[in-house]
């Protein structure tokens, strides 16, 4: 795991890594990958991947409106809101 990979991954994850910490982070992540690299040694043959221990199928709910949460509830924890909207720094498309 090199520092440019760390930067790329951090940017994908929207995390800011300090320049002076990148090397340390790269080493830590490399250590984790060292542990994880045991996966490569396992004979997996045709084993189908397992996503969840739950057997069966996803349940379906009837198409009904239960209750919209109130606007107050939706906005009450928001760091910034105005006129019923969440407010974020300007997005330039």
């Amino acid at each position: 795991m090199d520092t440019s990979t760390v930067k790329k991954v951090a940017s994908l994850a929207r995390l800011r890594v300090k320049e002076e910490e990148i090397t340390t982070i790269a080493q830590e992540l490399q250590a984790i990958l060292g542990l994880v690299d045991q996966l490569a040694k396992v004979k997996i043959d045709n084993t189908a991947p397992m996503t969840t221990p739950s057997a069966g199928k996803t349940p379906l709910r009837p198409d009904a409106i239960e209750a919209n949460a109130s606007r107050v509830q939706i906005l009450e924890n928001a760091p910034q809101s105005e006129e019923g909207f969440f407010v974020v720094p300007k997005v330039v498309e």
């Binding site: 795991m1 990979t5 760390v6 991954v9 951090a10 994908l12 994850a13 929207r14 995390l15 800011r16 890594v17 982070i25 830590e28 992540l29 250590a31 984790i32 990958l33 060292g34 542990l35 994880v36 690299d37 045991q38 996966l39 490569a40 040694k41 396992v42 997996i44 084993t47 189908a48 991947p49 397992m50 996503t51 969840t52 221990p53 739950s54 069966g56 996803t58 349940p59 709910r61 949460a69 509830q73 939706i74 009450e76 924890n77 928001a78 760091p79 910034q80 969440f86 974020v88 720094p89 300007k90 997005v91 330039v92």
Partner: protein, 497 residues
């Protein structure tokens, strides 16, 4: 009036409430006092004493009206990862330090509907990521078994809950177990820790770490308490698509002995890091089971080591996605400042709000899912997960339960992790993670103290949805283990009934 009501187990205490030996308020105050006395252990992030006192008063009138519900007046501690309506819920993160959920999790709702009273929200590793409760934005929790000059960790991530039950700052507590986060701290703190089959307890309202692994769990000092809470909270929840549909069976009935029961001891759990004292506790546990009439035989779980690798791919992968919602837009922390762009705001807020370990796991999780690495890591890990589940399935064709240590060592000193590489801590999960990957029920029981006077735990693992049988066997085993020790400073009253 009893001098120390905090020593009563949930079951015993509820019986006394029904008998009228003491009132819900009196029982509550004994815990409030304990919480206060244990302040330096940093067990709770938030306490809810005021509302608890009101609830205790109402509980008394229900007893007087004869409308008391099964858990009427039972104080419970809740890991601060369960959303509790109108009560701040932080997940141990700076990011959520001011988050007040407008809704209640299913599990905490069911317990409260049965009459339980919330004592407070306990400390944890941030977003349940850790095995020491040191990774909390609200400071580390100390193990009640610590020497005054040498603080120990309570384990994690549900360390606050485990330590609170051990320190009698709660009779019972809720935790969550993703890769061992109930069973490991239970073992470090000398209490029982139970993780049900994946899907038994609803995840609705539980702040997610890794969705396919997260499962609410229970801490208690008596097996009857574990079963009581489990049976009250379990059962299908239409709000959780992964909630098991099959119904929770009737309470377990006591067995006379374990004759005809087969116990498997996995060969691969004799790892190089396994502490010698734990090795011998494990052997003695097997011997105890034999004396109870069980047949004990060696089994093989060949993908044990690979399971840890698979876990540290799958859990961070899911976490990296589950934690993407923390962006400072709708709730939680937003970094101050004039952000040049939306992305700049995201990066500033997330880097400020998340601790190091969380950031590390998000980075690893993002990496293993990203283009070019997906097959080598994430897909391969899911295949290994299937093999781990198959290992257990094969084992359970031959045996009824698996007996294993809960942890490779006793509680370690606070700050130990800082000196080692991050994977040192990950290795602590070697005995708990395979069970989580397979989604099986497992119970961690305190077995003995080591030479240093610290508790050591053993795990009894059952097939999926085998809770009833697990409780029946564990009752005899627990009785035979006869663990009565209490943390220094507490009096071993006969009240751990």
């Amino acid at each position: 009036m009893h001098s120390d009501l905090s020593s009563f187990s949930a079951t015993a205490g509820l019986q006394e409430l029904r008998n009228g030996s003491f009132t819900p308020s009196e029982w509550l105050e004994s815990f409030v006092a304990r919480i206060e006395a244990c302040g330096e252990l940093n067990l709770y992030i938030s306490d809810t004493t005021e509302t608890a006192r009101e609830s205790a008063t109402q509980a008394l009138s229900r007893y007087q009206d004869k409308t008391a519900r099964p858990l009427e007046g039972l104080p419970i501690a809740i890991k601060d990862i369960f959303c509790t309506k109108a009560i701040r819920t932080t997940a141990g993160s700076k990011f959520l330090s001011n988050f007040v959920p407008p809704y209640e999790s299913t599990v905490t709702a069911r317990l409260q509907e049965a009459g339980a009273i919330v004592l407070g929200k306990t400390n944890l590793d941030e977003f349940a990521m850790g095995s020491s409760t040191e990774h909390s934005a609200f400071g580390a929790t100390h193990n009640p078994w610590s020497h005054p000059d040498k603080p120990l960790v309570p384990g994690g991530s549900s360390g606050g809950s485990a330590a609170a039950v051990a320190a009698r700052a709660a009779p019972v507590a809720l935790g969550t177990d993703t890769g061992g986060s109930v069973r490991q701290p239970a073992s470090f703190c000398g209490v029982m820790g139970f993780k049900p089959t994946y899907g038994r307890l609803s995840r609705h309202g539980v702040i997610a770490y890794a969705s396919s692994l997260d499962q609410p769990g229970i801490f208690a000092r008596s097996l009857a308490d574990v079963e009581l809470l489990y049976r009250t909270a379990a059962g299908h929840d239409p709000l959780d698509s992964t909630s098991a549909v099959c119904s929770v069976d009737a309470a377990s009935s006591p067995l006379p002995n374990l004759s005809g029961v087969k116990i498997g001891v996995p060969r691969e759990y004799h790892t190089k890091d396994l502490d010698g004292e734990i090795e011998s506790v494990w052997q003695q546990g097997a011997e105890t089971l034999r004396q109870l009439g069980a047949e004990v035989e060696e089994i093989s779980l060949p993908h044990t080591e690979a399971a840890l690798a698979a876990y540290y791919v799958i859990a961070p992968a899911e976490a990296s996605s589950n934690l993407a919602r923390y962006d400072g837009v709708r709730y939680g922390l937003r970094a101050e400042g004039d952000h040049k762009s939306l992305d700049a705001m995201y990066e500033a807020s997330r880097s400020l709000g998340f601790g190091k370990e969380v950031q590390r796991r998000i980075l690893i999780g993002t990496y293993v899912l990203s283009a070019g690495y997906y097959d080598a890591y994430y897909n391969r890990a899911r295949r290994v997960r299937a093999l781990v589940a198959q290992d257990f399935a094969k084992a359970f064709e031959r045996v009824d339960y698996v007996l294993a240590p809960a942890t490779p060592s006793a509680a370690f000193p606070l700050g130990a992790e800082a000196t080692a590489d991050p994977t040192w801590m990950y290795q602590q999960d070697i005995f708990t993670v395979p069970v989580s990957l397979a989604g099986l029920p497992a119970l961690s029981l305190p077995a003995q103290l080591n030479k240093a006077g610290l508790p050591l735990g053993l795990q009894l693992i059952a097939p999926a949805f085998g809770e009833r049988e697990l409780f029946a066997a564990a009752a005899l085993f627990n009785e035979a283990l006869d663990f009565k020790a209490v943390p220094p400073g507490l009096v071993a009253s006969g009240a751990n009934r």
